[in-house]
């Protein structure tokens, strides 16, 4: 079963994420993907995540396809104008990539090429619309395509965003534009997430809650202070701080979160950020 079919069923779906290397050496990332592939439905391939220049998502998506794994092509509006974005989408289709996650993207100043010119010719909402237009057989200005792509389009939402109401309004816009599934920013506050899910239940669109395994108390505090929309409650930070075996504590926290999330949404999206090898342990502990 593919991602689209799994989300349409009653299954609790798990996706994960890899970041291409800074360079052409893909051995390690393909090995990571293979390890993940056995346990998750599909794997996001990020697009110069956090504005740190890396090998493009599309080529790695293609390599994953070749290995029988299911990629999710992350495409952002940070670096490419509407011509390049449409071209890359058609390229993705030609390479057999079906799942697309349409993102606005982080600003370049946050990464390792702060001198770069920010593009943002489209935003996530208009990008989703463009994808649907291509699927319907025309480019975004109405020219007919010779051969049309078929995609399964996803978007992101930040349940911890400020203000949440604006996030929900934008989520609804993305659905109207054509988004069929959502992955969220990392969730640590189950109560707040439950409230959020109640408010978006009527949209009837699958939501995969984001999970970022904590590596240390320091990382938790850093995220609280620097990553918008993430709120890690103090008890979790303390658990990490007091842990003798940080990996064990991290896996437990992630698994506990997943167990609670099972009743609230259609799946989880695990973003290991370097701890790809720990994902199977998290899934084991969460009985998935």
């Amino acid at each position: 079963m593919g991602l689209q079919e799994s989300l349409a069923s009653d299954q609790f779906v798990v996706t994960s994420e890899i970041a291409p290397p800074k360079g052409t050496d893909v051995k390690e990332i393909l090995a990571e993907a293979k390890r993940l592939g056995g346990r998750v439905e599909a794997i996001n391939v990020s697009d110069s995540r956090s504005s740190i220049m890396r090998l493009g998502s599309l080529s790695v998506c293609h390599l994953l396809q070749e290995k029988g794994l299911e990629p999710i092509f992350q495409i952002t509006c940070r670096d490419r104008n509407r011509l390049a974005l449409q071209a890359d989408l058609l390229s993705a289709a030609v390479l057999g990539v079906k799942n697309v996650l349409a993102l606005t993207g982080d600003y370049a100043s946050l990464g390792d090429h702060p001198q770069a010119k920010p593009v943002f010719d489209l935003d996530s909402v208009s990008l989703i619309r463009v994808i649907k237009k291509l699927e319907a057989g025309t480019d975004m200005v109405g020219n007919a395509l010779s051969g049309r792509p078929k995609f399964f389009v996803g978007a992101v939402v930040n349940p911890g965003g400020n203000p949440v109401e604006a996030q929900i309004i934008k989520m609804e816009k993305k659905i109207r534009a054509g988004a069929s599934f959502f992955q969220t920013q990392a969730i640590y506050d189950i109560g707040a997430f439950e409230k959020f899910m109640k408010r978006v239940a009527h949209f009837k669109v699958p939501v995969l809650a984001g999970i970022i395994p904590l590596k240390s108390a320091g990382m938790a505090r850093f995220m609280n202070n620097n990553v918008a929309g993430i709120f890690i409650p103090e008890p979790l930070i303390q658990k990490m701080a007091k842990a003798e075996d940080r990996v064990k504590a991290s896996v437990e926290i992630a698994a506990d979160l997943i167990k609670e999330l099972k009743g609230m949404c259609q799946g989880v999206h695990i973003m290991p950020i370097g701890w790809e090898s720990k994902v199977p342990a998290v899934l084991d502990a969460a009985n998935l």
């Binding site: 509006c77 509407r82 606005t104 993207g105 982080d106 600003y107 100043s109 946050l110 920010p118 943002f120 010719d121 489209l122 935003d123 996530s124 909402v125 208009s126 619309r129 975004m140 992101v156 939402v157 930040n158 965003g161 400020n162 203000p163 109401e165 604006a166 996030q167 309004i169 934008k170 609804e172 816009k173 109207r176 534009a177 920013q185 918008a228 929309g229 709120f231």
Partner: protein, 217 residues
């Protein structure tokens, strides 16, 4: 040289749906020079709106609509007429519209599209810059320009990067433009405007920095 165009009357009337009493503000500097906001244009607009069933509670032509103090004193001078209106129609460049919205805190509608400010800085308030996009959306964003208040030029709402303090992920010194827009729309009772899906900007309407606009040659 300054270039602006008046929005088609249908577009202006669409922005005024549900409203009856309007106050008109014109600009006696750039807009007047470009024939989009001076005396004759303001009077013409008044006639056109009255023909469409609106009541113009009053009007004023200010020296510079981009100058906060001037706008403030002008509005104070016509306080009764302004209070009797449900909104203000600002016939000026984008800076003027934003200034009026900020000073009056009244629903402010743009009457025009700004194409080229001619590098005139005039009295403009740096925090209310106009991107000269030629397709003014200030009517949908509570009088706050998303192109100049958001580093990512987002038209369809906030990204996920607004910090807990309401600051922009790009620069913690600046407020999230879309949070400001959200708060202003909420204040004006216009949150439903956030539901609109905007098409991407038409960059061919935005002129190159050097040289004359193609259409003027």
């Amino acid at each position: 040289m300054f270039l602006a165009q008046q929005k088609p009357l249908e577009e202006i009337l669409k922005s005024l749906v549900g409203e009856k009493n309007i106050f008109i503000l014109g600009c006696n500097r750039c807009a007047e020079a470009s024939g989009t906001g001076g005396d004759p244009q303001v009077l013409e607009m008044r006639k056109a709106l009255e023909r469409a069933g609106k009541e113009i509670t009053g009007f004023s032509i200010v020296g510079f609509l981009c100058q906060k103090t001037l706008v403030q004193s002008s509005l104070q001078g016509k306080a009764k007429e302004v209070a009797a209106a449900s909104s203000i129609l600002a016939m000026s460049c984008g800076v003027g519209v934003q200034t009026v919205a900020a000073v009056s805190d009244k629903i402010t509608h743009p009457a025009g599209n700004t194409i080229y400010l001619g590098k005139i800085c005039g009295e403009w308030n740096v925090s209310m810059r106009c991107q000269e996009c030629g397709n003014c959306v200030l009517d949908f964003t509570g009088g706050i320009c998303p192109l100049t208040s958001c580093p990512k030029f987002l038209l369809n709402g906030t990204c996920g990067g607004t910090t807990r303090e309401g600051k922009c992920e790009v620069d913690p010194e600046i407020s999230c433009g879309w949070l400001l827009i959200y708060e202003r729309l909420k204040k004006w009772g216009q949150l439903e405007k956030l539901q609109r899906i905007f098409e991407p900007e038409d960059h061919s309407k935005m002129l190159p920095l050097q040289g004359l606009p193609l259409s003027a040659r």
